[in-house]
Symmetry: C2
C-alpha cells in the first residue's frame, strides 16, 4: 500500500500538464463567471455495474443515489466502486431521464450523463466546443439544448451517437457553420443568433424528417445559400428573420407551410419569387424594405391564409389579394399606401372568397374617408379592420 | 354594408389609444431588437369550433392549418370564420402540443395558444410582465419556459390556470420576488439570475411535490430567508450558488439530498450548521471563503458521498472525514492546507469505510513528499488521488 501511494504522489506531482485517464477528468472550475479559458473541476465516476433503467422514481435527487440515509453503509464499505443507483453530473439535476445542467458555469459537456437520458439541457454555460466523444452512448437522447454557450466548434463526429435526436437547440452561440452531419432523425433545428454566413449545398443532407428550421439572427445574405442547400428537405416551417436577405430565396422547400423572413432587407417581390411556395399558409415579410409587389407574384399562394407586409415601403395595396381565396389576415400597416381602390381587397360580387378576419391599414398616409366603402365589403365584421392611429 | 364600413372607419380613426376588443389585440411590433416599450402586432383568431385534440400529426406546420394546398377553398369561402384545424401564434412553431415561440421579439404572451399545449417555450423574448389572463385555459401545460425575457412582474393570478404545471423556468429575468402563489403541482422551479433579495415565510406554501429549486445568481443574503421560508417543502435538490450567503442557511428542508452553495461568501462551518442535513449525498461549498470547519460539524452527514470544498481558505483537512462512511469524493484543491496527517482521511484499520474514488489536494502549499503515505490507505486506487500541479 505504501508503494502504491508513493507511486500516486510521484504521478501527481510530475503530471504537468495534468492528463488523467481514470476517475478524474479535470477541467478546473474557476467559477460560473469564468471565461472559456477557465477550467472546471468535475467528477466522472466509473459507470455503475448496471445502468439504472427504471428512470421513473417519484422524487429522486439526481437519480444518483439510493433514497435512504445510510442503509447499506456496511455492505458498501466493502464494495469498490460503491453501487451507485445511477449517474448524474455534479450540480446537475437528473429526474425522469431529464438531465438539467443549465447555469452551472460548465466549460465542457459533463461525462457522467446517464445513458438513458432523453433530454439534456446545457444552456447558459461556457461550452465552446463539442468534442468527438462528448455524447458517446447517449443513444436515447431526443432533445439537446445548448443555447447560449459561446459555442464555436462542433467536431464532425460529435453528434454521431445521437441517433434518436429530434430537437437540437443551438441558438445564441458563435457558430460560423451549421454542424455537419446532423443527426438523421432530427425534426427541429434552432440555430438562431449565430455567425452563419453560408449554407452549403446539402448542408442538411440525410435529414428526411426535419420539419422546422429556425436560423434567424445570422448574417446571411442571399448569396450565402448555395443552390441545393435545402434539397431533399420536407420542411413545414422555416424562419430566416433578422438576417441580410435582399430578396426571397428561390430555392427553399416547396413543402413550406410557414415562411418567416421578417426584419431583412428585401426590396421587391418579383413575379417568380414565390412560385414554389404554393403550400404556404403563412408568410411573414414585415419590417423589410419592400417598395413593390409585382403583378402576379402572389398568385401562386393559393393556400395562403396570413400575409404580413407591415412596416415596408409599399405605395399601393399589393395586387392579387382578391384572388387568394383563403386569405383572411393581411397586415399592411406602417407602409406608404396613399390610396385604396374598391377592388384592392375583395373579389367581385358573386366570386367566392373567405372573409377577412384581420386587415390592418393604419400607419399609412391614406385618410379613411377617402376610401370607397365597398373596398371592405368582404370583411367578416367591423372589428376585422384596423385603420386608425395612422400618422 | 356601406353603413357598417363607415362605422368601422369611424371606430378605427377615433380609437386613440387603440383598444380593440375583438379580433385584433395589437401590441405593435417594432421588431425583435425592440425594447420592452416596443409593441408587437399579433393576431388572435377566434377559437376553432372544436379544439384540435389529436395533437399527434406527423409533420404539421404549427398545427394551425390543414395539410393540403387549397382543397376546401369553395367550402371555406362560405364559412365564417374558416374552420381552422387548430391555433398557433403567428411565428411560433406548434408541433405535438409543444408551442415553441423563442426569439420572436414578443412583448406579451401570445393569446392564441392551443388549449391542449403541454410545453410553452417563450424564452429570449421581451415579455416583461405576466398578466392575470395570459395563461387562461392552459390547463394541460406542464412546462413553461420564460428564461431571458426581462420579466419584472408576475401578477398574482397569472399562474393560477396552470393546474398541471410541473416545470417553471424563470431564470435570467428581473424578478425581485418569487411569484406567489406558485402552481400547486410544481416539481421544479428555476429562477436563477434574477433580483431576488428576500424569500418570505411560506413563499413556497402549498408546493407539496416540488423536488428541485434552483435560485442561484440572486443577491440573496442569509437575512433574506425569513424563518419558515421552506416550511413544508420536501426538496431533494436546492441550489443557491453565486449569491451573498455568509453561512449555510440553517432552515432548509431536511429532505435535501443535494445542496449547492458554491460561489458565496461562507466563512465557517459551525458545529450545528449542517445538523438538519443528514440526508445529503452531495454538498457543494466550493469557491467560498471558508477558513474553518468546526469539529463535529460534518458528523451529521451520514449519507454524504461527495463533499466539495475547493477554492476556500482552509488551513487543514476538515475534521471528521474518516467518520463519513459513504464519502467517496472530496475536493480540497485550491486551499491553504500545509499539512496532511495519517488519520485525516481514512478510518483506523479495521473500521469500515468506503474507499475514496476521488480526492483532490493540488493547489495547496503541502509537498507530496511531506505526507505520510498511510494518509491515503483508503483510496480506491492511485488514480483516485490528484495531488499535482500545486503552487
Amino acid at each position: 500500500m505504501a508503494g502504491l501511494v508513493l507511486l500516486a504522489l510521484a504521478l501527481g506531482a510530475g503530471a504537468l500538464p495534468f492528463e488523467q485517464r481514470g476517475f478524474w477528468d479535470f477541467a478546473l472550475d474557476e467559477g460560473p463567471g469564468a471565461p472559456a479559458g477557465g477550467r472546471a473541476a468535475r467528477q466522472a465516476p466509473p459507470p455503475p455495474a448496471e445502468a439504472d433503467d427504471s428512470g421513473d422514481g417519484g422524487d429522486e435527487a439526481s437519480g444518483a443515489f439510493p433514497a435512504s440515509g445510510a442503509p447499506d453503509a456496511e455492505a458498501e464499505a466493502e464494495a469498490q466502486p460503491p453501487p451507485y443507483g445511477g449517474l448524474c453530473p455534479f450540480g446537475c439535476h437528473c429526474h425522469l431521464r431529464v438531465v438539467q445542467c443549465s447555469d452551472l458555469g460548465l466549460t465542457e459537456v459533463p461525462k457522467d450523463i446517464p445513458p438513458d437520458t432523453t433530454l439534456l439541457d446545457l444552456q447558459n454555460n461556457h461550452i465552446t466546443e463539442l468534442r468527438p466523444h462528448d455524447f458517446r452512448g447517449l443513444h436515447n437522447l431526443y432533445a439537446l439544448v445548448l443555447v447560449n454557450n459561446g459555442l464555436r466548434r462542433v467536431h464532425a463526429g460529435a453528434l454521431a451517437p445521437l441517433r434518436r435526436l429530434e430537437k437540437l437547440y443551438l441558438s445564441h452561440n458563435r457558430l460560423a457553420a451549421i454542424p455537419a452531419p446532423l443527426p438523421p432523425g432530427l425534426l427541429e433545428l434552432r440555430i438562431h443568433d449565430n455567425r452563419i454566413r453560408a449554407v452549403p449545398r446539402r448542408a442538411f443532407r440525410g435529414l428526411r424528417h426535419v420539419n422546422c428550421i429556425e436560423m434567424g439572427g445570422n448574417p446571411l445574405e442571399n448569396s450565402g445559400f448555395e443552390p441545393g442547400a435545402f434539397d431533399g428537405l420536407k420542411l413545414n416551417y422555416l424562419r430566416i428573420s433578422e438576417a441580410r436577405l435582399t430578396s426571397v430565396p428561390k430555392d427553399l422547400p416547396e413543402t413550406l407551410r410557414e415562411l418567416h423572413l421578417d426584419h431583412n432587407r428585401i426590396q421587391t417581390l418579383e413575379r417568380d419569387d414565390l412560385k414554389r411556395y404554393g403550400q404556404l399558409a403563412r408568410l411573414g415579410l414585415g419590417h423589410n424594405e419592400i417598395r413593390e409587389v409585382a403583378e402576379g407574384s402572389l398568385s401562386p399562394l393559393g393556400a395562403l391564409r396570413e400575409l404580413r407586409l407591415e412596416h415596408n415601403r409599399l405605395r399601393r395595396v399589393p395586387p392579387g389579394l382578391p384572388g387568394l381565396r383563403l386569405l383572411t389576415v393581411v397586415y399592411l400597416h406602417g407602409n406608404r399606401i396613399a390610396r385604396v381602390g374598391a377592388q384592392d381587397f375583395c373579389a367581385p360580387p358573386g366570386a367566392k372568397r373567405a372573409h377577412y378576419q384581420g386587415l390592418s391599414l393604419f400607419g399609412n398616409p391614406v385618410a379613411p374617408g377617402a376610401v370607397p366603402p365597398a373596398a371592405f365589403r368582404c370583411l367578416a365584421d367591423r372589428l376585422a379592420l384596423h385603420f386608425g392611429n395612422y400618422k
